[in-house]
Point group: C2
Chain length 209, copies 2
Amino acid sequence: MKVYKIPEATVMRLSIYSRYLHQLIDEGVDTVSSGEIAAGVGVGSAQVRKDLAYFGEFGTRGVGYKVEELYGYLIKILGLDQQWNVIIVGAGKLGSALALYQGFKDRGFSVCAILDNDPGRIGQKLGETTIEPLEQMDQRIKEHNIKVGIVTVPAQVAQEVTDRLITAGVTAILNFSPKVLRVPHEVTLRNVDLSVNLEVLSFNLALNS
Amino acid sequence: MKVYKIPEATVMRLSIYSRYLHQLIDEGVDTVSSGEIAAGVGVGSAQVRKDLAYFGEFGTRGVGYKVEELYGYLIKILGLDQQWNVIIVGAGKLGSALALYQGFKDRGFSVCAILDNDPGRIGQKLGETTIEPLEQMDQRIKEHNIKVGIVTVPAQVAQEVTDRLITAGVTAILNFSPKVLRVPHEVTLRNVDLSVNLEVLSFNLALNS
DNA sequence: TAGATTGTTAATCGATTAACAATC
DNA sequence: TAGATTGTTAATCGATTAACAATC
């Protein structure tokens, strides 16, 4: 797949398209147009075609796209045709909820290690997985060839934990801590800052009042 | 505050700046330049000045910004100088974790109602708040003048729940369900789609392998 | 005054959208 | 062939960045 520069928004939309196509498969639909996908997920049809065009030609002019086929391509493009092992650092409320989140499993993500440094938490089970001390990080990452780390620790230790994850071999990080993290450019970082999200809402509420 | 069109990215950065300023206050710093803020949060200094310029002139040429003063302005702009009452619909793992999330309280958000339709969950306590049936929605929203709704229900019922929230008076929605929601234009919607986030990581991993 | 840093304008960059030739 | 819809180009839009006059 020879690709130059894909806008991040495009990747996010591909993920959403793929879910919509999954729904169409369930409904037994077998052909769909860019306009229908667009209407289904609330974007323009040119946007849909443009997003797909980054990766190839998947449709038939005058006809549209075969739903199952396009779905298969998207899953491949998104890397969801393989299993990704995940480590969660921080077994607080949020980390524990994420460890048990069914949506991750559904899409091929397998949480195979959960770490915390609270002696009261270590040894407890979350589903199949036992909470272990941070010292186990290196071993678990190597053992399970983990590439994805989820950071749900307090802000003060988030950078340190991130550095350790990267040193141990993780190259993709989902950060839930309210901390601006620095990572080398070859590591992909995404921030899911819950407070920032609520504050955008708050901004809009304040604006309209 | 007379404002035309603020990029959403600007609002998110303002939230991040405000946290950085809070940290500077703790450190006893009392003056800061746009370059220092920029370095602190990993953006360009022109970006910082431009973001602030949407809302006014907060600095002194040749000197910089007074930390506490600028922090105060940002809190005001973000609407964090007032308390926002929040309702959570869906008391599963994620909803429960959010109900207890300290970060929300710290920024002035008060979760004052949690609803679920699972009889096994109703009546249980999450912190101070008791899980109630969905029938209580209208009453709680009116009683507490709730403007913010957090949706953590399964995709199948997300749109229905959202419609009910809006009818009852909620005008800002944080959606954690993997569902494209339709809301009237006067309602602010933010999607925090955990799977989409992981899939962007997966895409990048697949790209680099 | 000299040095520093803001606020703002203009240039650049990149993403979205409209339009249409290609083609089923 | 006529109608439909793709893939792609070019136009538009909007956000970021560079540059600099204003000014402390």
